[in-house]
Amino acid sequence: MIGARKITPMFYVAAALLLTLPPFLVGPYWLGVGLLLLSWIALAQSWVLLSGMTGYISLGHAMFYGLGGYLTVLTWQSWPLWISLPAAGALAAFVALVLGWPVLRVRGPYFVILTYGLAELVKFVVIDIEAKLGKFGRLLMGAPPLETLYWLMLALALIATLATWYVRRSRFGAGLRAIRENEEAAETLGVPVVRFKLFAFAASAFIPGIVGGLMALRSAYFEPFQAFSPVTSFTIVVIALIGGSDDAPGPILGALFLIVLQELLWTSAPELYLIILGLVLIGFVLFVPDGVHGRLLRGKRAT
């Protein structure tokens, strides 16, 4: 099989089934931590679909997260959740599709700063719209309970993980990885480069849109600076870099590492959090570019 690995989908499903238990076992604080962990997993797995597979590193995924949150908040009173959440994802995917056409023609580091710039542009546009509407932050009344949000996020994290697992082993994934290795050669060998890139981009935006919606419900508050914060984009990249961006276990490992780091620092030295994250990014780029998962695999291959 193309790139077969030992961890099967059943493992992830089993793990997810186990993880349905915490709402019955732990208090709201740890449940919130669990929700956060699952949200990072869902975000990072989706990001890997595009950036891990094709090498087009997006530093702008906060854009999709924020747009999903915005739509959810706008339709909170009018649409039921089972419509607004998928719609949030669909909006994000649609925006990705539309933007992807011109944006994916830009390669390498220019793509990275372009996505960053785009996310900032969207942020400031939404801020302007909100200001014109006279809104400076929106409060949500009667948001769903934490348990519901947790289970929904669990489902998202599972879907995102299975998606990464599946794509990594599919013909589509092989094409994406060929694009990553050498786009021109891939195209010469018949890989439909434009189509594949667009699809990966849109696919990578869908779940982050829904995650954005769920997290807006979690805080029951929407504020553009927060929702579109580049720190979200940055954190996703760091998670994928730490854990590994080539296969499904990577983002899970990375998200775990991040949550542990957050928990450790939140109480003692919160200002240090971003500084350490930046240093971690630098350190991993220089010394562990494949991430923890990649390192583990290379160790196995060597024996």
């Binding site: 193309i2 094409g175 990885r177 060929a178 050669a185 195209e187 060998l189 018949g190 439909p192």
Partner: protein
């Protein structure tokens, strides 16, 4: 029957005319050589045929249809494959995976099982079986050149464009490459266009040779004719030598 027909092909880069009114045909099953000094326009020609660039003027007919301006992947699915002068392996993927990509996406585009079987067979034919599971970046130059050919072959082309596959090879490797090309020509019923600087290889392989100079086609004929052509000699050696 004519497989490839180039008519009045022209291409400019800024002020430079890379190709100027180049026309020739390639019949099914032929091995045609393309010869010319550096900068004569040979690789540009391949770029145009393979779809990496659009011709400024002229038509490129493959099996009767004008393919000028189509994207490289579409052209590949029609049955044209090329190798690159400077090899472009998928470095961190294994040799096997490299070839499998070709099998998965090219004109053959089957399911994964068939693709892997095809890849396996081609690996054997191009003496890559022993290195199949090593990363492509770890091969020797000769190996990487064979990999270029193997990958292109995996896309089940009818027309294969070989761009200076002998460059950088030792005389022994060149002899082996000539044999390999002859073998795949036979076994896969290919039509081949070869750009080569290694003159004796070109003379041995090609049934016809097209000579380009400063973007113009200055001669076309059998290897024997080209070898004694005063026009070609003048282009290569200068007026006084002819």
């Amino acid at each position: 029957m004519t497989l490839l027909a180039l008519n009045g092909i022209g291409k400019r880069f800024g002020g430079l005319k890379a190709l100027d009114d180049v026309s020739f045909d390639v019949a099914s099953g032929e091995i045609v050589g393309i010869m010319g000094a550096n900068g004569a326009g040979k690789t540009t020609l391949f770029s145009l045929i393979a779809g990496h660039q659009k011709p400024g003027s002229g038509t490129i007919r493959f099996d009767g249809t004008d393919i000028a301006g189509q994207r490289p992947d579409a052209i590949n699915r029609r049955g044209i494959a090329r190798t690159f002068q400077i090899v472009r392996p998928f470095r961190t993927m294994s040799v096997r995976e490299n070839v499998t990509i070709g099998a998965l996406f090219g004109a053959g585009a089957d399911d994964t099982q068939t693709a892997e079987r095809d890849a396996e067979r081609i690996l054997g034919e191009l003496a890559l079986a022993a290195d199949a599971d090593r990363p492509a970046g770890s091969l020797t130059l000769a190996g990487q050149k064979r990999l270029e050919m193997a990958r292109a072959l995996a896309t089940r082309p009818r027309l294969l464009l070989l761009d200076e596959v002998m460059a950088g090879l030792t005389p022994t490797e060149v002899a082996a490459a000539i044999e390999t090309i002859r073998a795949i020509h036979r076994n896969y019923n290919l039509t081949i266009l070869v750009i080569e600087h290694v003159m004796h290889a070109l003379m041995q392989l090609a049934v016809r040779i097209v000579v380009l100079h400063h973007g113009l086609k200055i001669a076309e004929g059998t290897p024997a004719e080209i070898a004694v052509s005063p026009i070609v000699q003048e282009a290569y050696l200068g007026k006084d030598a002819a």
